[in-house]
Symmetry: C3
Subunit: 161 residues, 3 copies
């Protein structure tokens, strides 16, 4: 592991809950705006935040089932509490809009514009049967846990979300 | 971001689950007792831990609905698992008492006595329609994510709870 | 707290969800394989990951109820999402096997072989009525929050899972 701490922040986005992913992006874009080099490593349920609608061909039955059950993309994420079949999400989105707070898809866009490194976890993609072409950016880096850890050991702040 | 790590701990309390908030306070008061300068940044559901009963006037209908649905204060938080309509909480509280472990309201009190900095997240207060006068301490600092990040980058330990 | 950061990683395993505990072990074994000195501190629901089947005698009624309600051991953990009465767990396990990803019990075994320090939280054991002899390793260290914090303040990466 690296020996000196540079101006970096590392984040594991494990959760696929709208509110938690939003907290992650708010922290990440805030840090990037302050000049920090931010990496977000999406794993398990968090992968839903960096998928696009399309479900690619050539999946086996288990992989297809996973695809049906998981949210299709970042717009499909539900709240961790009081989601009430989507009503909580609708209400949260409405209140955010009235307070002029950026929506989750807008935060994702800002994150990309600010040059935040979005990385997909290789093992989770394998287990959940998600293909590279299903990610929002087909060139998105896909990496293992060692790559995250190397980055984290060199970061001032590391968070598991 | 700051360049040298001082004896600080930073915590984001995102969760409003009784057990998680309790874990946060146990870590925070433990660190403060060891002489560490601790900041707890309450955001999203975590705000319920630093609210008092009163719901202030002048709220719009969405803000009122949020107020009805969220726990009124720290005593109303439920367990993240096995809450069973409050029975899990009752059981947990009973077992804690029999083992002479401090309750959540007592931990909050200790945190304040130890000088732990309790900060409310401005954006979450806006989105959830929580007013300054609804916080347990009307002078409680309300700050944005940048203030948290500056503190975290200077902390030896940063946690997202 | 210590003044220089050594090659250490500290993790609080608060969650007892199969997927989160798995993420914890994947990070921990990955770091240990890279030569990092890893400590996992199991607290609250996380204790279920380091228990064995046996429930010891001499428990009072509340402690017995807790024992019945909690998963018996690491094989009994459910998914945080889409568990569907165990079907989600079965599906996840099947997909992991087909992709040759280590199962949770295998990860626990690897963690022990790699010399990862598994520590049980004393206060949680008290509150939940779990006895030392119920842990997978009867010699497993049982410690308080101060011990965790001392380790974390000296770690390059600290995570709350």
């Amino acid at each position: 592991m690296a020996d000196e701490k540079s101006d970096k922040m590392s984040m594991i986005v494990f959760s696929g809950d709208m509110d938690k992913v939003m907290a992650g992006f708010i922290l990440a874009t805030g840090a990037a705006a302050m000049g920090t080099d931010v990496t977000m490593f999406f794993t398990f349920w968090g992968l839903s935040a960096i998928k696009k609608n399309a479900i690619s061909d050539g999946k086996n039955i288990m992989e297809k089932m996973m695809g049906w059950m998981l949210p299709k993309n970042i717009r499909g994420l539900g709240l961790s509490k009081m989601n009430m079949g989507g009503m909580g999400r609708w209400m949260m989105n409405r209140m955010m809009k009235s307070k002029k707070v950026a929506s989750l898809p807008e935060l994702l866009e800002t994150a990309r514009e600010l040059g935040i490194k979005l990385v997909a976890c290789k093992m989770s993609m394998d287990v959940m049967g998600i293909k590279q072409e299903e990610l929002i950016d087909p060139d998105m880096p896909v990496a293992g846990v060692a790559s995250f850890l190397e980055n984290a050991s060199d970061s001032k702040v590391s968070l598991f979300i």
